[in-house]
Structures are given as structure tokens and as C-alpha cells.
Amino acid sequence: MDAMNESLSPLGVYKEGMPWNPVEKVIMERRSVRRFKKQPPSDNLIRRILESARFAPSAGNSQPWKFIVIKSPEIIAEMERDATRITKLFMFFYGYTMYKGIRRLVSKIMANFSVMRLYKNEFCTPPFFAMTQAAEDQTVYFHGAPVLIMILQDKRGVSNPSVDVGVVGEHIVLAAHSLGLGTCWLGFARLLTYYPKWRKKFGLGQHPYKFGNCICLGYPAFKADKEVPREVQIVEWHEGSMNGIPRFERQGE
């Protein structure tokens, strides 16, 4: 027990302005990796990463997840092809930033009165632009990754199972990064749920499970880790009495 406390003590003691400890360093310097070496990570390395996922916290210890490891280049290539195909279909109708003149106008009206209202989160600015880029063959969704880990969400999970999927995914991502792998979240794998073929293959629609998220893994082809600037965050601090006004602090400045 003593040895255990000792090994953890440099992580646990806080001094003002001290350098990042190893956990913080992984968090601060991790960037998404979008190009991988061909050589896939060994099976035991993937098992080791999934072990850190097994011990992720979840609401009521319900563990509302199922993992699917995809290592076949053939299957990943077909996923890529199908995801791009359905993107092209969507963007043919709704991708108005790709067009000019009358076609843009018609497309914009169609988008604003249908998908932009129905699927608010899927069609906000970032995924919309990413999909227009994929539809124009400017980018690929799966980055040629050697391994995908698909996380399915158990609909019967306690309280809010999608949060638990996020937590388990972050465990996978940080553990993989600390072991020298590059990772990237691939929320666009959700596009495959429109195909009965993929729903059947991965059980995406079979009763307890639905699509949660997807993470790609592999040895990074180049060094992508560095600290980058981010927006200053405004945080509300309540310190005074019940009737007091909160203090707004600019976190990070």
C-alpha cells in the first residue's frame, strides 16, 4: 500500500504554476491524428486499451456499451465507400454552399425547411462543411486507419447512456495516446446506420443497442502532438450569499 501511495504522490500534490504532470501532458498535447502507418497495432495492445475502457465510470455501474473492433482493411474500405456514397446523396439535395445561383437557392430552402430543423445537431456548421468536403471528394472519413473501435450504446443504460459512451471513449483515446498510438473520433460512422447492410452486420439497430460512436486507432504517420491555443472560456463563479451576483471569470487568460 505504501509503495502505491509513493508512486502516485508526484501526480497528486499540487503546487502553483507547476509543470504538467504526465496525465495532464497527455490531455493537453493530444491532437487528433488523421494519417496512420500501414502497420496495425498488435492485438495485445488493443486489448490493453480496451482494458482501460472496461474500468471507465458509468451511471449506476450499468456499463451501457458494446465494443466492436474492426481490423479488416477490406471492411474499412467498404465502410468508407458507403459513408461517402450516402453523403453525396444528402449533399446533392442539401449542400447549398457547394452550389451557385438558382441551384444554391433551391437547395438552401430545402435544407432550411427540413434537415436543418429535424437534425439540428447533425447539420450545424462543422458537420455540414465536413460533409460538403467529403461529397466533393476533398477528404475521407476513416483516414485510412488500420483499426476501428466502434462503441455501441445500450439503450437501457441508467440515466443518460450517451454520456457513458463519451466517458468510455475518452478513456480509450487517452490510454491509446499515452501508449504511443494516434486516435480520432469518427462520429461520421453514424452515416452507416442508414444502410440495412451495416445495421445487420454490426447489430446497430438490434434491440438493446444503437450506434454510440467510433474511434480510429493506429501508429501516427507523423508527430502531431503539440499544445494549441483555444478560446478563452467564461466561467460563472458563485461565492457570495444567496442574493449575490455571480462573478464571471475568463478561464485561461
Partner: protein
């Protein structure tokens, strides 16, 4: 909810009007979407193509290639000087300022001038426009 003035200071509580709450911004109108602006220092650039590969949307291009070309192995060698793609009406740059390109750049040729700020329904309330590196408190 918090409202920031032009300097990013918090001065009063922001309430969305009904119009602002439901109005979808036009994604290729610069008055309704402020896209991020990254700046390439072409004197430092060695045309390795790592920023093109690292870009989440594949929106960094050169004359000779784009991201899909490099990833699928169609293109190899020196890429030429990169720039950021714009929407079809040439008004808005397709960039969200995630800065993965900045981290990937081996010569430090990329810097950011403006952060990504969509308007109306997607207005960011608790993120000030300034970009800062992580701070060791």
C-alpha cells in the same frame, strides 16, 4: 447566460430573442458566420503537406493536390503552397480553427488570426473570441 461586448468583456446577461433562437445562419454568408482565419507564413513553409493531411475537413488545398489525393496515395512529393478553401460563392473560408494543422506543422508556419464564430442560433455564449494557450495555474 453571458454576453460579451466587442472586446470580449462580460457586461450583461444575454437573452436570445425568439428570432435569434430559431434563425438558422446562412453558412456561406460572412455576416452570419465568422469562419476562423489561419495565416500561412509562406517564407517558412517547406511544402511537406502535413497540414493538408492533418486538416479535419480537408479544406487546406494546393494547386496540385487535396487531402484525399494524398491519403489515397494518388499524390506524392512536394505539394506547393497551401491555402484554405472557400465556399462556392467565394465568401466564407471553410475553417473551424481546430488548429490541428498548427500542431502538425514542423516549421511553425501557421498561426491563427480569428476564431470560428457562427451567428444566430449557433452563437457561442461562454467562449470569448481570444485564443490562448493552456495556462499552468
Amino acid at each position: 447566460m453571458v454576453f460579451q461586448d466587442s472586446k470580449g468583456r462580460v457586461n450583461k446577461m444575454k437573452h436570445f430573442t425568439l428570432y435569434e433562437k430559431y434563425k438558422i445562419p446562412t453558412y456561406d454568408n460572412p455576416k452570419q458566420i465568422q469562419s476562423a482565419e489561419i495565416d500561412f507564413d509562406y517564407t517558412k513553409c517547406n511544402q511537406c503537406g502535413l497540414c493538408i493531411v492533418a486538416c479535419a475537413w480537408g479544406s487546406i488545398l494546393t494547386d496540385s493536390c487535396n487531402r484525399a489525393d494524398i491519403l489515397t496515395g494518388k499524390f506524392k512529393g512536394k505539394t506547393g503552397l497551401p491555402w484554405v478553401k472557400r465556399t462556392a460563392n467565394d465568401q466564407v473560408k471553410i475553417c473551424m480553427g481546430c488548429l490541428t494543422c498548427m500542431a502538425a506543422c514542423p516549421t511553425g508556419a501557421i498561426s491563427i488570426k480569428k476564431s470560428f464564430r457562427p451567428g444566430y442560433r449557433l452563437t457561442k455564449i461562454c467562449q470569448a473570441p481570444e485564443m490562448k494557450y493552456p495556462k499552468r495555474y
